[in-house]
């Protein structure tokens, strides 16, 4: 078990940031999603041991959140979202320095820095000053510094920001490999849902300081709602009003395809009944595969 949080509460003064968060993150890759201000930052801070929760308890890699932050940070790798580096240092010195700060002996940190820089694709540029690196190279360097001390758990905050499509694909493939075959668990925080969908099997969605959904992505898509795609002939407004009143959300695409997101336990026959009541012909009815965007939008209540 990697992260186990029970009933975590945290407030910034009067503002409640986390309200009874309980999560259990298992090994492998997990996505952390949530709109701005949802509390995922605070949750990450608590998991890294920067903030002490007001209430609740938890463990990261078996270490207590309140008393063993030092051990947590020694065994967790963190790749921040910001472009952060130390000017005047070359890639290998910087990476070795980060390893040393984690508690590695100096020589081993240097040896390891060479290895991870090759692994992330910066082997040829490792003696160059970081100041001269491109954004993509700095992104790789951040991954290298997060890996240098061989963490058991990686916190990746927007790992593909500032990358071109090829670079993004390469980083995602590295992260995917790390998560799947290197025995390192990954917590991926990203607003790019495709990134999460391509790497993570599990996901946690936070909204307003509470867990809105968590579990396997495939299961969540199935459990939380169904998506149907319809083509109709007839008047849409009254038909749609009745479905909205029943708890559905409707979207109409440019090619007049109507997407209906239904609430849990919604009887799909209700769509046909509403159509019949309003004299609407249903000319196409498909139960569609929902996307992660759909799930996210629906879970946090945004379009």
């Amino acid at each position: 078990m990697n992260v186990e949080l029970k009933n975590i509460h945290f407030s910034y003064g009067r503002v409640k940031a986390l309200n009874g968060i309980t999560v259990d993150l298992k090994e492998g890759a997990t996505g952390l999603l949530g709109p701005n201000g949802a509390g995922k930052t605070t949750l990450l801070k608590i998991m890294l041991g920067f903030l002490v929760p007001d209430e609740g308890e938890g463990q990261v890699l078996g270490y207590d959140l309140r008393t063993e932050q030092r051990y947590i940070r020694q065994r967790v790798g963190y790749m921040p979202e910001d472009e952060c580096y130390i000017p005047g240092m070359d890639g290998v010195s910087f990476t070795a320095y980060m390893g040393e700060l984690s508690g590695m002996p100096r020589q081993e940190a240097m040896k390891r820095a060479h290895e991870v820089l090759f692994y992330v694709g910066l082997g040829e540029s490792r003696y160059r000053l970081i100041d001269t690196y491109s954004s993509g190279m700095r992104q790789r360097l951040k991954l290298a510094q997060a890996l240098v001390h061989d963490p058991k758990l990686l916190f990746l905050d927007e790992p593909t920001s500032n990358l071109d499509p090829t670079g993004r694909q390469e980083i995602l493939s590295l992260i995917g490999e790390i998560a799947s075959s290197k025995n390192i668990s990954v917590l991926l925080c990203s607003h790019l849902l495709d990134d999460i969908e391509s790497i993570c099997r599990e996901m946690v969605i936070i909204n307003k300081g509470e867990i809105a959904a968590s579990g396997r992505i495939e299961d969540l898509k199935m459990i939380n709602y169904q998506l149907y795609e319809l083509k109709i002939k007839g008047e849409l407004p009254v038909f749609s009003q009745q479905l909205i009143a029943a708890g559905c959300r409707l979207e109409e695409t440019e090619d007049r395809l109507i997407k209906i997101y239904t609430p849990p336990d919604f009887d799909q026959m209700e769509i046909f009944r509403a159509a019949a009541r309003n004299g609407v012909q249903v000319r196409q009815f498909v139960r569609s595969q929902s996307s992660l965007e759909d799930l996210f939008a629906r879970t946090v209540g945004v379009d």
Binding site: T41, L44, K45, L48, F50, L51, Q69, R70, Y71, R73, Q74, V76, Y78, P80, E81, D82, E83, C84, Y85, I86, P87, G88, M89, S93, Y97, M98, E100, L101, S102, G103, M104, P105, R106, E108, R112, E115, V116, F118, Y119, Q145, L147, H149, D150, D157, E177, I178, K182, N183
Partner: protein
């Protein structure tokens, strides 16, 4: 024979250090970066000129007969007593050299980390705020120490060596403690001063302006207040005047300004304390993830 490893990710099989001086890699890296800056080594070398001159004076003082021609009428200069060591530790040119060096090698200590958002990288490691600040302070302590404490102690030992007896030691038994105490006080002040300036801006150029601005502004302010109020207490507004006044207290010699030296001591100590609080506030280790 070690096996050939394929390129790729391999787990590290070593052990983390149990007892780690976490601040030391930070200090070592800070020193390396400072020495790597343009002209730093040159300025650092030049900063030892006052110490060399004082060493020559000590040598001449022990060979006055041999250097009669140059020492005539300047015997006071060649009197080696607590005032001599105090004068070394209160040289304006020494303070200026320290500030110049720190503006090149120390201005970015915190400012560069703020500018390039590197603070979060430090605090994602098993570091405390105290480790981080001690590591950064170590850089200033090293440079100020090598320009104050070490030369002053070496000058003292040189005097004992050239004298060839314990006469000097017996004449001033507490002098070595005064040298150490005064040097440590200077180290403390300059460390607080440089780190405070470095924490006040993300831009090292602004930090350099703050370092020299505060230094010279305090002198100008003292001048203005002195003209208006004609009071020796106007020296309390000057950085150098306060340091000289405190140094006089440590060496138990007549203070240059006509007020108790402990007032300056309290003022500088208060400044160091406030600086620490400001620096601590600026380095917000918990705000690492957006």
């Amino acid at each position: 024979m070690t096996s050939i490893r394929e390129k790729g990710y391999h787990h590290w099989e070593g052990q983390f250090l149990e007892k780690q001086r976490t601040f030391w890699p930070i200090t070592r890296t800070g020193l390396k970066l400072a020495f790597g800056r343009k002209h730093f080594k040159l300025f650092y070398t030049f900063s030892f000129i006052p110490a060399v001159v004082y060493a020559v004076i000590i040598y001449i003082s022990e060979r006055l007969e041999d250097f009669k021609s140059i020492s005539q009428g300047a015997e006071k200069i060649f009197q080696i007593n607590p005032n001599f060591f105090k004068s070394y530790l209160t040289l304006d040119i020494l303070y200026f050299a320290i500030l110049l060096l720190m503006s090149i090698g120390g201005a970015g200590l915190l400012a560069d980390d703020f500018r390039h958002k590197a603070v979060q990288l430090y605090f994602a490691r098993p570091l405390t705020k105290a480790d981080y600040l001690l590591g950064k302070a170590g850089v200033v302590i090293f440079f100020v120490g090598t320009l104050t404490l070490i030369p002053a102690v070496l000058l003292y030992l040189l005097k004992l060596l050239f004298a060839g007896s314990f006469g000097f030691f017996l004449a001033y038994p507490g002098l070595i403690l005064s040298i150490i105490a005064c040097s440590l006080f200077l180290i403390l002040f300059f460390t607080a001063f440089v780190l405070l300036a470095s924490s006040l801006s993300n831009n090292r150029n602004y930090v350099i302006s703050i370092i020299f601005g505060l230094y010279f502004f305090s002198e100008i302010l003292r001048g203005i207040i002195s003209v208006i109020f004609r009071s020796p207490l106007s020296a309390l507004f000057s950085i150098t005047a306060n340091l000289k006044q405190v140094a006089a207290g440590f060496f138990q010699v007549k203070p240059p300004y006509d007020y108790p030296w402990y007032l300056s001591f309290l003022l500088v100590s208060l400044f160091c304390l406030l600086s620490y609080l400001v620096i601590k506030h600026k380095v917000r280790g918990v705000e690492v993830i957006k």
